[in-house]
């Protein structure tokens, strides 16, 4: 157990260092970092001052050391566009993205599991064929396309839902479905196959022979055992909800970090871009670590392997 935790911790640390290297080079990729770090209307003196304050004449390892020191002390520099610390701007918007991610996670899990279970208990039937179609479409139709189609039908044609923005529960519906789309299809597929595997086992046959009602066989006996692979797939999908927010938030004008990233990139607000990419990635990596450690506690097969 200790060995597993230590190796996972080291792996996480390596990943975070890797992310910091990518983020560090982001602003230096185009050659002249000042061209990216400063708005085009800045004066030559501003440029020189920035170059000196960033230590751009130092060798790269020294620059990287300064960058890491900034990260550790929580100082990511000021956003050019907002004129406040980039971390504050980020933290201001991050809860909105998390709210949407949570809503998508609920939609994906409920939708995927219910359709998958229905497909599995009537294998080969109409619902089952629907399951296969949903799983295929989920992989083939990008979520932003689903988002636009939802807007077209439910907002523009039927006028049931608001097209964009974040105000009240109604505005969550379409972005959450669009963002959940891909994961829901994957979960549907996984639930179906996992349930089918479990339904074949002896203990399900035994439960049926004992005369356990079918409903109880499915939910109490089969579903509980089918849940492990479903949940491990689900934990992998969390990353998609946050990462996919870049596109979904742009479509639905959702005031989260996805939209903020796009705005920051187009306004060349690099301290902000660096902050968003680094903090979000680190957050997700730590989340994954937490999920993995939780699994090791729950499932002895993992920590003993």
């Amino acid at each position: 157990m200790t060995g597993y935790i230590v190796s996972r911790l080291i792996q996480t640390l390596v990943t975070i260092v890797g992310i910091s290297v990518v983020v560090f080079f982001l602003a230096r990729l185009s050659g002249d970092a000042t061209a990216l770090l400063i708005p085009p209307e800045a004066t030559a003196e501003d440029r020189e001052a920035l170059k000196e304050s960033l230590g751009l004449d130092d060798p790269l390892p020294v620059q990287y050391g300064i960058f890491v020191k900034g990260i550790i002390t929580g100082d990511f520099g000021d956003s050019f566009r907002f004129g406040e610390p980039a971390l504050d701007v980020f933290l201001d918007r991050f809860p909105n993205t998390l709210k949407l991610a949570a809503a998508s996670a609920v939609v994906a899990l409920l939708g995927g599991v219910s359709v998958g279970v229905l497909g599995a208990i009537r294998a080969g039937g109409f619902v089952d064929r629907l399951t296969t179609v949903i799983a295929l479409l989920g992989q083939a139709i990008p979520s932003f396309l689903i988002g636009i189609m939802l807007i077209l039908f439910f907002a523009v044609e039927l006028r049931w839902l608001p097209t964009s923005g974040m105000a009240g529960p109604k505005t969550f519906i379409m972005p959450a479905i669009a963002s959940a789309w891909y994961s829901m299809a994957a979960l549907t597929r996984m639930t179906r196959s996992s349930m089918l595997d479990v339904m074949e086992t002896d203990y399900i046959r035994l439960a049926r022979l004992k005369g356990v009602p079918e409903r109880a066989v499915i939910w109490k006996h089969a579903f509980r055992n089918a849940l492990v692979p479903i949940l491990s797939l689900f934990s992998l999908q969390i990353i998609f909800f946050v990462s996919g927010s870049v596109v979904i938030e742009q479509i639905f004008a959702w005031p989260g970090i996805g939209q903020l990233t796009i705005q920051a990139i187009f306004s060349r607000d690099y301290p902000l871009v660096q902050t968003i990419v680094f903090v979000t990635s680190t957050f997700l990596v730590l989340l994954n670590l937490g999920v993995d450690l939780l699994y090791a506690v729950i499932d002895p097969r993992i920590r003993l392997a």
Partner: protein
């Protein structure tokens, strides 16, 4: 178990050496998904032949003929799929979009597949610190929020088709490395690899002549599924304005333009939407078929 699965097909081919070649070739095409293949051939054909068969110049602006509907929705055959807000012919732009999607998709899959397979071969064969280094890098790339990092890198290096391809190769090789490394680990324990070692083959020869042919099947299946994923990513990035720069027509870019005209001219979003969905669905169905054909574990199903 590993020795079993590697020696089984060998025994079989020794036992049945006189199977007629032609019949087995036809047999291989069993269950070929005809509709997806047809759709793909149309997309590939229009993509390659775009400059010849385009009814109009895809970037020709004609403001007097803007926002025309497609045929069947009060449109004329002059513009079969209508025109966009600048009066550019949607069908011609769709063909250009097919070309770009295929170009980016195939280039990225080739690049990332080659890089990922090479690293997987090195990591899986040499083990030790090479393996640790490559595997940790793979983990890092698989752990980061892909789209977020991709758009910031594209934003930093500037949007162009070449940069887009390079960034996507840089961001997608890890998936190949992860899957293929475990395949290499399986194959390197097989008897024929040990025999090759005993016979004095160099590591390079063992990797290229003995291990690589045995991981080609999973590589092909993976590449097919990745192709549709890359096309979707390219469309997403172009939709955000961080993919292939305008005025070059792309499916994602057409969707982004069309979104502003929802409720005015819906065909501007529906047409490129159908193109993306149909193409990716067809590629996935072909990939599923290939997986069943190429993966021995599925063959008897």
């Amino acid at each position: 178990m590993t020795t079993d699965s590697s020696s089984l097909p060998l025994d079989k081919s020794v036992a049945e050496p006189i199977a007629p070649k032609r019949a087995s070739w036809l047999h291989n095409l069993r269950g070929l998904p005809v509709v997806p293949l047809t759709i793909l051939l149309i997309v590939i054909g229009t993509g390659i032949l775009a400059p010849i068969i385009q009814p109009h110049n895809p970037n020709e602006v004609d403001l007097l003929a803007s926002l025309r509907p497609p045929v069947g929705f009060d449109g004329t055959w002059e513009h079969p799929l209508g025109t966009d807000e600048l009066g550019r012919d949607v069908l011609s732009r769709l063909m250009d979009g097919a070309q770009i999607s295929l170009l980016v998709g195939i280039a990225v899959v080739l690049g990332a597949g080659t890089l990922g397979a090479t690293l997987a071969l090195l990591a899986g064969y040499f083990r030790g610190w090479v393996d640790i280094l490559i595997s940790r890098a793979t983990d890092t790339f698989l752990a980061v929020p892909f789209l977020l990092v991709a758009i910031s890198v594209v934003g930093a290096v500037g949007a162009s088709t070449r940069n887009l391809i390079l960034v996507l190769i840089f961001m997608t090789w890890a998936g190949y490395a992860r899957v293929l490394r475990s395949e290499v680990l399986r194959v390197r324990e097989a008897d024929f690899v040990r025999l090759a070692k005993v016979a004095g083959c160099s590591p390079a020869r063992i990797i290229i002549r003995h291990i690589l042919p045995n991981i080609v099947n999973p590589l092909i299946v993976l590449a097919t599924l990745q192709l549709s994923a890359v096309i979707v990513i390219e469309a997403s990035l172009s939709f955000l304005g961080l993919g292939v720069p305008a005025p070059q027509a792309t499916w994602g870019g057409m969707l982004a333009n069309g979104k502003a005209y929802l409720g005015v001219q819906n065909s501007l979003t529906i047409v490129p939407g159908i193109a993306i969905a149909a193409t990716c669905l067809s590629i996935n169905l072909m990939g599923d078929w290939l997986r069943v054909r190429l993966d021995p574990r599925f063959r008897q199903l």
